[in-house]
């Protein structure tokens, strides 16, 4: 039985599929929302891992190493996807936050107060299920931009390159994504919100 713990730089390819295939696949699917594509990404990850296996130094755990490879593959996949259809997906900035603010630029639905949530891991898992649901409210491009920023911590310039968009377009996409996600999480996760209490409502800004 191959040991999971790699204190030395030994890797155990025989146990890879049992140990990592499902969790890599779950993560890949969460990011690309397509089973076939997720399988391909996991396969590419394994190929890369087999090729680079001699260079694995054991600085990180085997699992961390696998996820690092997978995340790179995911970003590469976005690069390729948007290189192919660069022009077709431009967003129209007009309706950017029309359904969030009125003509005077005031909140239509004011952000509510969030309850504190203990960050236990079983709750975290539920959080991601809710987040996944919320992400479906975004356009494909907003979704990708949001995840590249928040999950991969890519900078805005890098994301513009990956998605083939201008920086103006980037700010529109991200802001829109955040408005939608924030509102959705407020309704479905942070619950008990005190939406728009009245104290400051008439302050003229």
């Amino acid at each position: 039985m191959a040991s999971l713990i790699t204190n030395n730089s030994q890797l155990h390819p025989d146990a890879w599929v049992d140990n990592y295939a499902d969790s890599l696949f779950s993560y890949a699917f969460f990011r690309v929302q397509d089973r076939g594509l997720a399988e391909e990404l996991v396969q590419e990850t394994f190929v890369a891992a087999l090729t680079a296996k001699e260079r694995f130094k054991g600085d990180s755990s085997e699992k961390t190493w696998f996820f690092a490879i997978l995340k790179n593959k995911i970003i590469d996949q976005f690069r390729q996807k948007y290189r192919e259809k660069q022009q077709s997906l431009e967003v129209t900035p007009e309706n950017i936050n029309g359904d969030f603010f009125n003509e005077q630029g005031e909140w239509l639905v004011k952000p509510g107060k969030w309850r504190e949530n203990p960050q236990q891991s079983f709750e975290q898992r539920e959080f991601f299920a809710v987040l996944q649901q919320c992400l479906t409210e975004l356009s494909a491009k907003q979704n990708d931009a949001f995840k590249l920023r928040e999950f991969d911590d890519l900078g805005s310039k890098e994301i513009c390159k990956v998605l083939g968009i201008s920086s103006t377009n980037y700010w529109v996409l991200l802001h829109r994504a955040r408005l939608v996600i924030r509102k959705c999480l407020e309704q479905n996760w942070f619950g008990n919100s005190v939406a728009g209490d009245t104290l400051y409502e008439n302050v003229d800004i």
């Binding site: 499902d22 696949f25 779950s26 190929v47 996820f67 603010f101 004011k110 408005l179 800004i205």
Partner: protein
């Protein structure tokens, strides 16, 4: 001083931008001035940070778990076998 006076829509855009880049001094002051009087935009900013924290503090295994197809797994095992031989 008009440029200091932002409404909620503008402030929310700037707060969102501040998650990704540094803003000019004038804009930062404009936001601060607005946030002193507007708890909703202040919440908006705090909540964006909270969402980022929650996402980034998680382990990859907290993603809703799925099972990969046996066929796909079998081809992964084949791949590993092949590499072992070569």
């Amino acid at each position: 001083m008009k440029m200091w006076i932002f409404n909620c829509k503008e402030v929310s855009q700037l707060v969102s931008q501040s998650m990704d880049r540094d803003l000019s001094f004038t804009k930062r002051m404009g936001i601060r001035f607005h946030l002193m009087m507007c708890r909703y935009c202040a919440r908006f900013g705090q909540q964006l940070k909270r969402i980022r924290e929650l996402i980034r503090s998680q382990e990859e295994d907290n993603i809703p778990p799925l099972i990969m197809d046996d066929k796909a797994k079998a081809s992964l095992n084949d791949l590993i076998e092949q590499r072992k031989k070569s």
